[in-house]
Symmetry: C2
Subunit: 168 residues, 2 copies
DNA sequence: GGCTAGTTGTAGCATACGCTACGTTTACTG
DNA sequence: CAGTAAACGTAGCGTATGCTACAACTAGCC
């Protein structure tokens, strides 16, 4: 029984992984249950077999994306004694990478949904935001840690405006 | 015939007005045709009589909101020779007014939809963004006008983060 | 009064969505 | 091998959505 549980749990993780990828590539807007099932390679019936509701599935996928996103930041800058300007420059550089754009779009899609919080979007958005702020604070060092909220806001604002004004 | 056209046009404007109000109060997420019709005080059938598609109706309402929003900014600060800090402070003060929150939520909802641009959201978002940037540039005066994009990003980022972290 | 054009109500179509009923297959245990 | 529970496929339910067909009413003009 424990073995079966483990297998099922592994399967669930694979599904969450595939759904997360689908979300990044296609957005929440184009993620009906049937479309997700197609991306995962199974029927929507099976998604409901492995997860109670669509909302639970999406929540887990967003969680995975959030942890991956914050984790990927970990090694791009050393901790402590980095100036705010250097942090902003690093974030700007990362933001310009076209490979990062789908994830950024998804991020602001989540924010839009969080505004009328139905479901897991608001908590996920807060979590990602906190992750970023912690990351900034750690680079700044304790002496300038109070600048973190301002730098975060600047970076978020620039990211949003760039996405809106980009042609694509 | 010209008279009939005028009457119909007036009626259209009234509808757009009511729909705009509904959008600000309830968000795009809760704005199905039948819900809009109820707010306007007519049947959804009539909405389709006055407008070709729902998309056209929403687009016009968003346009009205955008122009009203930028227009309301006009007299809160004098033009020219205002420092970036003063502008940011003024925007922060406005953003803290609870009466402004529904509009702000709608704003980020529009941005989220603009990310997968289906319909009028992206152009409306750009338009509002340009309006704000122009407003900032005019307050700064020509000497410091180049600071406008940075200030705009800072203000947008702070507004977004505040909305996400607010309890409600 | 008839006629036409603009206006409105009733009812419902077609599609998409999240989710489920129900039966069948698979795989493991005794 | 028999029996049982997990794993899956097929089909479709109920609801919501954007939109429309169709008939009826109203108003102005001859």
């Amino acid at each position: 029984m424990t073995r079966a549980t483990t297998d099922k749990e592994n399967r669930r993780q694979e599904i969450v992984q595939a759904v997360a990828q689908h979300l990044v590539e296609n957005g929440i807007h184009n993620s009906a249950l049937r479309a997700l099932a197609k991306s995962v390679g199974m029927s929507d019936r099976m998604l409901m077999y492995y997860f109670e509701t669509k909302e639970e599935l999406i929540a887990q996928a967003l969680l995975l994306i959030a942890s991956g996103l914050v984790g990927s930041l970990e090694n791009v800058l050393p901790r402590g004694q980095v100036s705010g300007q250097q942090i902003l420059d690093a974030l700007r550089l990362m933001g310009e990478d076209p490979a990062a754009h789908p994830g950024q779009k998804l991020w602001f899609e989540i924010i839009g949904l969080a505004m009328r919080d139905t479901g897991p979007y608001k908590s996920t958005a807060k979590q990602i935001l906190d992750g970023w702020e912690d990351w900034i604070r750690e680079r700044l060092g304790s002496k300038r840690a109070h600048l973190a909220p301002t730098i975060l806001a600047q970076a978020e604002g620039e990211m949003m405006i760039n996405l809106l004004r980009r042609p694509d």
